[in-house]
Structure formats: structure tokens, C-alpha cells
Symmetry: D2
Subunit: 368 residues, 4 copies
């Protein structure tokens, strides 16, 4: 089947199209192809957006974006999806401040200012325009729709992401022991309280220096049915990788054993099959729940590397758009570490990929 | 713009569709959307296929696949592309041997046998069917077409992949010093002769044990123009990642600093801009040549993790398709390490992604 | 190249996605893939919407939809396209009246009420929901964007539609003599004043009877470059036909000689080539400007059949959604003849198809 | 959902990609997305190709194309589809004759020679290359696959096309009375024996004059389930129209009342609903089985206009590719009337569209 990924559209049957610049009128998304008669309340969408929103704690940017979603179409008065496109709008309310004035002609290092100019010959410079993290609002809203559809079609399926690493600090809780309630209970969204404290300290220290930190987000999909994913170009890991590598600041993606697979011999890496009652299971899960591009019913395991926030309050060498040398020091209100806010975005993208594969499987092969 | 990825089709404007099972009549590919009047000789395609072919050295499987391509359409008698679909066929010649008989009902661990059954309720079991590595013949043939088209549109652009790691052994040559002539001169396709020798010994030792090894392939794209890649879902790294993660046995993908980015503070990770004559350059290249999803003209750097070959000559626990416990020992002729043969496949996928982005850029924004 | 048509998305490189129900929050469109740096004012969009709007004359429905567009994204403060998705929103302002209450459970004959229920098991019944003619607002807004892009890339190209037939009344002005100023000067949007008067009388008479009329819209594209359109499945006439047949109430489409071609022998139908200065021209134009699916530089000629408005103020036999016999008499404010308002929709769809083919031609074959 | 139409690919979930030039190595098609476990024999494909083949009677071209299909992939040894791409190859056997030499530099009137040159700057001139009617071999082979899949998913559904008009001669049998056995029993493939004789005489007379005739093919789809087709851009009639208008020589398409709708008042055109047992039916069928773009369970009725064959044995004015005036008289062996051979092509395209909508409906809305 076909996997439609366009500049601003993602998915084959469950199709997500986002639009909007950070300082334009608003940010939005259109979800087309959602099954009909799925309960969808605007509060559900708002709840997911609240998890992504800046200003949730002192760890993230103090901007107070209200991010109130409005469902403009595709849902009946009774709150059921109609099968037609679901359009969701979030107005931009945070006015452009003079903090952005430097951006107009000076390229911020490791941002998209220069490359947008190279590509389009024009850019919406205020706040990063289309390249702003506000673009992910559309993804998270669409992820809320995907979550509602999955709840109906695969009620047992669970998607859970958490911060596994901040800078050099790692959280060692194994994927199958991570609990959503623990993750949501700490501002770093890591998997245990002790790691959370250490990571929090590190982020606070980086902020004090005007610096920033990267890290790793892990994600597990539990109780996915076997049979999802298409061979060849649309392998489940390839479409998940595409989705995750499209998140701003993501620099790497691995599934199952990932880069560790390189060092293991086949005799240790192979996942032996055994019967568990009626069900074919594997003794280990280096495959990360995917074999030959298709889910095998085990936990789907992913890890994503995020680079440190590019905007820092330390002076940096750069150039202007008329090719003069310059220096720049970030003045806006920015996250010293995007990882906590990346968690709901990763979950949203995972759900968008999964519901699409569920619908594709239903199309070609019938009922799951 | 749109990035068409379907089960067996990849690309938006330069579209590659592969077909074929390992023991059916043949393996093939259709390339649609190639610019017209590009010189394309069948010998060029054959040369790339020869690099992918097993039996090139004692390091790879001794099967002697001849892999002779036939161009069935899309090229004029004078050897120029017509702008119409280019169909390339490679007949299967290696007859099914009794070595595969065990496969019919017993699931090979970490292969796609079980998941194909779970998805389709049927599978071409001989030699892995569609999930066989022979499927990559179509990718490499299409990569040869992409190479010819890039030679016309971006004559300076160069794609070069090499084996950076086999098991625990690493080759330390930095990306900007790797030379194609050195890579092709050793059977491991690594970047220096001394590493090649060590890796060769490790592979020979694994083979003697009936075991297998994984590793890492690195890839650099030199002299890519700035402006390639689309914001949001079709970022250059996201489409490259999709392409690479769709290669059989690939478990991880990173661009630029990749997973190392997680440990670096922003002050060290950011790539300062400076002017080099007329050209905007960066002092470092943690971005891996891509910022905001768009190429910035620096080297594009990628790394791919490959798991060890799943077929090993060591007895393993497994189950049959009627859910009985069983054991299996690989008897076919298989690569103890797929890495050397993965190199031309990685280059092919990189070129397929790049020519597509070049044509998309020309569509939306005009001449490069 | 690929022509992306989805339920609510149309186009391959210049992609138009509409959303919205007639009595939801609003109607909108997202245009992705538009070239950057194209001047686009909200007033231009508003002007095209005004041509589509009901209540323009006594011939059309007296509903006073204000249809004020807001450009939410994709355009710079200076009024230039950014290359990113252009989102346009038109709020619904006309409150649901009790005139629609009958629709909730009774299927209107020759409307989409029954088939939406059959497909989705749910429908937005007020005002026809997604199947309302208000959906075409998104098309017309996107057409205004296409017009702006064509003005930059093909400044000579002109798209002109007019009402050629209302009921049995025909306007006989040949396509090459039709003038935009004449068409826009009469409320029927036909090509001469005398026909306009007769058609106006017929529409008024139908309204008095509570009945409705259909007709034919003709469309000519002048000064299209040769070379647009793709062979095989994406012939220019096939994509134009798809676009036009997707307009509500369109029942037929023909290009050039159309159904008259059936009666002509080849010796009279063939268009002889001759040289006109440097340019290859044809003596006749039965081909309608398209040969082998590709434009030849002559006028592109199309005709579209529209059925009479389904909503009439005459009692009709029907059934309810719980399968009881019923009768229904239209009470809403409806057009007795949609043809005059169809003219800007036809032009919009023609421009959307043409700009897409222009960009595709640039992608594969370089500068026009 | 999405409807993927590319230059040489058609369909969203059931995707058909054709390739091949008339005098290259062969003609082929790849069908991706077919459901697994559908019985498919090469003989079934061959039988449909035999209906399309020239030389079936004296009415068509005397070329003896053998058109023997080979299924290269996607079908198991037991003759069941695997769910993977189905590649079918037909070798070209009819050698290029000197009859085509004139084509190399002289543009045939109303053929695609000039426009291919205008688009690509190159063309495969022998026998029309990609623009040859041989391209439809791929469509008919894919239609045979679609027929097999429909037989499994919609066993009652029937697609039947016939020649309704040749030149000025019409066959008056109403659509619901047309029988396949009658159509296949006469060489014109019209719906009654008496019309067949008259049409046969007219074609023979045209051939004697070196001239050609056009006509109309009608097509009915019986027992299609209600609910097929997508609102807005992918209406059932729009995708059917796209498919049909992409057939070489097709100049017009209409559904249900078609162009006759223009002359009918709404009170006569509307199809009243009534209950027939449990089933919602319509008293008349001006809608042609489609309302709001979605099937309503009544017969789907289509008509297609075909122009007369462009190749005639009468001298015509034209120009050469270096822009000199010339004359041309067709010397090849050509059909004086393509209509009889168009019948299986029309049926194939109808089935390709229908199976795709069936799979899309199953994807979004579950079991039919």
C-alpha cells in the first residue's frame, strides 16, 4: 500500500496535514481518512496539547502559550467523527516580541534560517516561522485523533514514551517496567523519580549557563497486533523512523537492538520462537517487535536522539543574509532542554503511524 | 511536495517500484519520472549489480547469481532515457535447492517467515520469497538510473558509502578522507586496508563457527546543493532515514552527530556560520549537512546499524507454522556478514532520495 | 509523475485539501506546494469567492453568505507566498434554520443523504454537511492561489468558462470569440446578452414552478504551453475530467470534439498540422488542444454537463432513514439553477490542474 | 482516502503501474496492493488479453500479436496471490516494419508524435512508442487481477461494456437488458445481432475508403454495494471518469443521465426513493447509481465517446520534426474502428477503479 508523505502531509489512509507559522494567525491540522463514529471531544485534544505546551514547569520555556484547540469540521454535534476531514485550529496568541528582531537578517546557528532562504528565497523570520516548534501542535492534535481511533480498533494497544537520557544522565528502567503514571508525575518525564531529580538539576544548571542539553526519548508500543507494516519500502520501522526523524531536533532513530546490533553475533541476536499457549512468542526481543518490516506481536521498542536546543544565551559566530560576519546571542524565551515536551510529540507520531498501518492492513487483508 | 512511499514504491517524482520473489521468475524494478535524454547503458546497471552480487569474495555467500539486467522499456535505441517508465528485469537463475525445504513449515528465528504468515496468511517460503535480500536488486538497478540522472543535473554531487564497523571492529578514517578507490579495493569495503584485514579475519572466524556478524555502514554525500529537502514531514533526514531503515537488516539510522548529540551541550553542538568567499559555510558539521530538514551545502553524513545475518549454522529453538516446538539449523549458503554487500545498496537508496529531492526542488522553486 | 487525488486532496505538486461541513464552524482549504514569492492578497481570494457566492442576483439563492476569507498561513507580511502551506478559512455565518429539520431523518431525492449513511453510518444532516455546495468555497479559494501562481509562471495563459446551455437554451458564440467582460456582465454568465436574457427568463419561470434547471458550462484555456500533461493515466484530459467530474452535480465531461467525435470519420476529425512561423499549429482543433494526453499549444476546450438542482419546492416521494415511505418538499433557499455559480468553480478547478501540470513538467523536464 | 494516479500508476490501494513501448522489449504491468489468497491463473489473464488483441476478426487490424502473458511475481506455486506485487510481462514479438519509417521525422496528425517531442524532446517513434495502443495490454492484464479480487470480495458484482454506437449507427438495447453472451457473440461487441451487422458493414466500408470510424462504448456495473466512492475529489464518477478518459482516443465521459441531464427539469430528473423489501431503491436512475459521489446500489451507468482512429490511408497535410511542410498517408496495419477492442479495456478500467474503492471502503469503514 501507499504511504503518503508530503512536505506537510503524512500517512496513507489516516492522513495528517499540518500548516502554520509561529507568528502567523495560527497553527492547524487536517486529519483525513479517520474512521467514522469514533468519539472525539475537543477536551481530549486539549489535554494532549497541554502536555506539549511550554511553560508547564520551570524546566521549559516560560512562554505562556494557551494553545486552545477548536475543532472546525469532521465531528458531529454529538461528538462522533463523521468520516470527513477533521480540521483543528489553534490560534497564535503570543505576540511577536522585539526579542526576535535579530533574527530578521542574522542566521541563527544550527537553525533553519539559512536553509529556508537557500530553498525558498524567502522566510517567515519571526520565531522561526514554519520551522518553529509550534508546528508540532498540529502533530499532537492529530495524535489525539489517532489515539481515539486506536481506542476503538485496537483497544489494548498502548503507546508510552519517556525521557531515557538527558545529556550524559541515563534512566535505567527497562522498557517493560516503565509506567505512564510515573512518567507524567515528574517534570522531566523520565521513568523514575531519582533520575528525574538528577536530570532536573542538570537542566537547571545548563539554563544558568545560558546553555542547553540534548538527550534520548524512548518509546514502547505494547499489545500491537501482529501483521502491521508492509514489506519493502514501507516496513513498520521505516515508517516509524520517517515519522520520528521528522520531529524537529531528532538526529537518530533505532528500533529494537538498534546500534547495539552491530556488535552482537547472530547466535546472540536472534530471537528464538516459542509457543506461549496459542501465541507465537520470542524469548528475547532484539527485533524490537518487528521482523521483515512487520509487527510480530511483541513490544515495539524505539529510541530517538535529540540534539541540544540550538537557541542559547551564549554569543556565537554567524553571518547575515547579506553575507557579512556577525555574532548572535539568543534572547528569546527558550527551552534549555526540549526532551520533556518531545514525549507527547513522539507518542503522537507513533500513534499516527500505527493507526495508518492498522487501516492499511484492514484494506488489503481484511479484519485484523 | 509529496513523497510517495508505498509498500513497493518509493519516491515522489522519481519513483522506484520493485517486485519479485527470490525463487519466482525474476526480480525487477520500474523507475517512473526520470528526466528524459539521460544517457543510460545496460552496462552501467550491470556494473552496480555486480557490486551487490553475492559470491564476489570468500566473505560473502558462495551462491553464484549472475544477475544480468535487461532494460525492457524507457530507453531509446540510442541509449537515452525517454521520460517514460524504465523497466528493468533480472531473471532468477539459481534453482531452489533442498536446503530450503525446512523453511516451508518452520519459522526461521529473526526472519520474516512468521510475520508474513501473520499478515497475509500465505507466503512464498522458498529462499525468503519477497523478504529475500534479492529484492534489493531492484533498488540497486534503480540507483544506477538515479546516478545517471544526478550526473546530468548535479554533476559534482558524489555519494560514497563504506563499512565503518564489523562486530566490535571500527575503521577510524574520518568521512571527509574516505576514498572510493580504497573502499572498492578491499573485500570488506572499509576505508583503510588495515581495518579491512582485521574485519576480514573476524568474518572468517564467525563463518567457521557457523555464526554471523553485524556492523555499521557510513555514507557521505559530497557537493549536494543547498536547498534540498522539505520542511515538516519530508525533511531530508526523514526521507533518507525512511529509505535506509527499509533496507533489510537495518536497525538504526543517524545523521550528523546522531546519538552523540544527546551528550553534547548546545554551545558545543551548534555549527557556527562563516563566509568562505561567496559561500555560507559552517565551522563544524554536527548538523550533518542538514538544518531544518533542508541541505545546507556541507557534507551530508549518515550512519546505519545492521544486525548480524539471521541465518546461522547453529541450532536454534523455534516453532512450526502449526504451532509445534522445533529446532532449526541454517543449511543454505548465506553471508556471515552482509555489510560489504550493503554498501552499494546504501549508495543506491541515497541517490534515489537525492534525485527525487532535486526534482522536487526544481518543481516548486525552479532551477537549482 | 504522480497525481495525488484523495477524498479531500487534489493534485500532485500543487496540492489542494478542502475541509468543512455546511453548518459546522467553517469551510477551509490548505494549498501545499505553491511556489514561493508569488504575490497573493486576501482581496484576490475574496474577489473569486464573491463570484461563487449565493445571493449575487435574483437567479441564485437569496442566502446571504458573506464568505470572508482569512489567510492563516503561508503568506509573508509583505504578501508573498512562503513556499509553505497556505491555509484559508471561511467561517460559516448562516445559522441553521428550521428549514433543514426535515433533512434529519428523511432522504432528499438525488442528494447525498442516503449514500453518506450507507458509507459512514453517520452524517452531518444540516444543509447537506460535507456534500453541501459550500464545500466548493475551498476549491475557489485554492483556484485564486493557482491563478496567482500561473500569472507568474505562464503569464499569457488564460482560463475562461461560461454558461453555454441552460435547459434547452443554447448560446452559440464559438469558444474563440467568448469574452470575459461579456460573461461577467450578465447574471447567467453566458457569452452573449441575448442568450442571457432568454436563459434568465427560463430560470425565473422554473423558480416560479418550484422546479430547477440544468445546463452546460464550457471552458477554454488559451495560450497554454505545449508539453503539459503526462502520458497514460495522467493525461491532461483525464486529470481535467477528474477535476470537473468531482464538482457537485456534474454528470458529463468532454474535451475537444467530445461525443461529436463518435459520428465523424477520421478523415474529417484529424487535425492537420501546418507551420505558422516557427510554431507547429493545427488547421482544426477537434483534439481540443490535447494529443496523446499532452497539450499541443492550441486552445484547450472542455464542456461539462450539470444536472438540475436536486432541491425543488415540489413534493417528492422518498423514504426515511428508518426505512419508512415519506414525502418531501424542499423548503430551504436554493438555486433554481447552479450554472452561473458553477462558472468560477470550473475555472478554479481548471487552474488547479494546470498549475500542477506546469510544476510537474518543470520537475521532470526542466524549464518550460 | 487517497487516489494515487501518476503518469503510469493508477489507484490508491490496488495500484496498477504499466510500462513499455510498442517496439521495445515488451509491455508490462505491476499490480501492488492486491489482497492475498486470491486465485489467479495465467490463463485468466491470457483470456482477457485475447479479447483485446488485434486480429480477432476482419474488423480489426490484421497484425497477429500473440500477447502471451507471463506472471513474474506475486502468485504462489499453487496459484494464489501472495499480497506482494504481481508483475506481468508480455513480450513484443511483432518486429518493426518499414511501414513505420515515415513516422521517424513526420508528425502523424492527431497522434502524439508532436506533443511527445514538445514534452520530452525525444520520442520512441516506432509504432507510437509509449503512446501506442499496446500500452493498454497492461491495463487489461491488471483488470484480470481486479476481476479475480472482486470475485472474492463482491461475488455478485458484474461489469459489462458494449459498443453502443459506431459512427452514426446506434444500438438501442437498454442497459439493463444487455447480455454478455450476445455482446461477445458478434465481432463488433454490440448488444444485438442486427445492429452488429449494420455496424460491421459501416466499418468494412470505412476500411475500403482508407478511412476510420469512432463511436460510443457503454458500460454498466451491476450489483455494486452501496457506499463506494469518496466525497469531494474522489467521487466515484470522478475516479471512473479519470480512468476512462485516460484510455487512448476517449474524448468524453458521462454517468447516468450525462449530457441529457442539462435539458431535464429537476422534477423529472430526481430519482424518487422507495423501499423494496429491506432495500432503499430509486424509481428512476438518472443518477447512474451514484449520489454525492457514492454508489447507492443501483446500476452504475457510463458512456464513453471514442474518436475515429487517427491513422488513415488517406493523404493528409502535416509537418516534419524540423518544421517543414509534408504529407503523410498511413501505411501500417491499423484498426478502422477501435471500438470492439475498447470494450475489454473499458471493463478493465472499471474493475480497477471498483476494487480500489472496495478496499478503501474496507480500510476506513470496515467490512462491506
Amino acid at each position: 500500500m501507499g504511504f503518503k508523505v508530503m512536505s506537510s502531509t503524512f500517512g496513507e489512509i489516516f492522513r495528517v496535514s499540518t500548516w502554520g507559522e509561529s507568528h502567523g494567525a495560527g497553527i492547524g491540522v487536517v486529519v483525513d481518512g479517520c474512521p467514522p463514529r469514533v468519539p472525539l471531544a475537543v477536551e481530549t485534544v486539549a489535554a494532549e496539547l497541554a502536555r506539549r505546551r511550554p511553560g508547564q514547569s520551570q524546566l521549559t520555556t516560560p512562554r505562556s502559550e494557551s494553545d486552545t484547540p477548536e475543532i472546525l469540521s469532521g465531528v458531529s454535534e454529538e461528538g462522533l467523527t463523521l468520516g470527513t476531514p477533521i480540521a483543528i485550529l489553534v490560534r497564535n496568541t503570543d505576540a511577536r516580541s522585539s526579542a526576535y528582531d535579530d533574527m530578521q537578517h542574522t542566521y541563527r546557528p544550527s537553525h533553519a534560517d539559512y536553509t529556508y532562504d537557500a530553498k525558498y528565497g524567502i522566510r517567515a523570520w519571526a520565531g522561526g516561522g514554519r520551522a518553529s516548534a509550534r508546528e508540532t501542535i498540529g502533530r499532537v492534535a492529530a495524535g489525539a485523533v489517532a489515539k481515539a481511533a486506536l481506542a476503538q480498533l485496537c483497544p489494548d494497544l498502548q503507546v508510552l514514551a519517556w525521557v531515557e537520557q538527558v545529556g550524559d544522565l541515563r534512566c535505567q528502567v527497562p522498557a517493560h517496567e516503565v509506567e505512564s503514571s510515573v512518567v507524567e508525575a515528574n517534570p522531566v518525564r523520565t521513568a523514575d523519580a531519582e533520575s528525574a531529580e538528577r536530570m532536573q538539576d542538570a537542566i537547571t544548571a545548563a539554563r544558568a549557563l545560558g546553555d542547553s542539553l540534548g538527550g534520548v526519548v524512548a518509546c514502547v508500543v505494547r499489545h500491537a497486533p501482529a501483521g502491521l507494516g508492509d514489506p519493502v519500502f514501507d516496513k513498520l520501522e521505516a515508517t516509524l523512523g520517517h515519522a520520528m526523524l521528522s520531529i524537529p531536533a531528532c538526529k537518530g532513530f533505532e528500533v529494537g537492538s538498534g546500534f547495539r546490533a552491530a556488535s552482537l553475533p547472530g547466535s546472540r541476536h536472534n530471537d528464538a520462537f516459542y509457543m506461549s499457549g496459542d501465541r507465537v512468542r520470542t524469548r528475547s526481543n532484539h527485533s524490537g517487535g518487528i521482523q521483515g518490516g512487520i509487527s510480530n506481536g511483541e513490544d515495539i521498542l524505539m529510541r530517538l536522539a535529540f540534539k541540544p536546543t540550538a537557541t542559547i544565551a551564549i554569543e556565537q559566530e554567524t553571518v547575515t543574509d547579506d553575507h557579512r560576519a556577525a555574532t548572535l546571542r539568543g534572547k528569546g524565551r527558550h527551552d534549555p532542554c526540549v526532551l520533556p515536551r518531545a514525549v507527547p510529540i513522539v507518542e503522537a507520531m507513533a500513534r499516527i503511524v500505527l493507526i495508518d498501518h492498522v487501516l492499511r492492513q484492514r484494506a488489503q487483508c481484511g479484519a485484523l
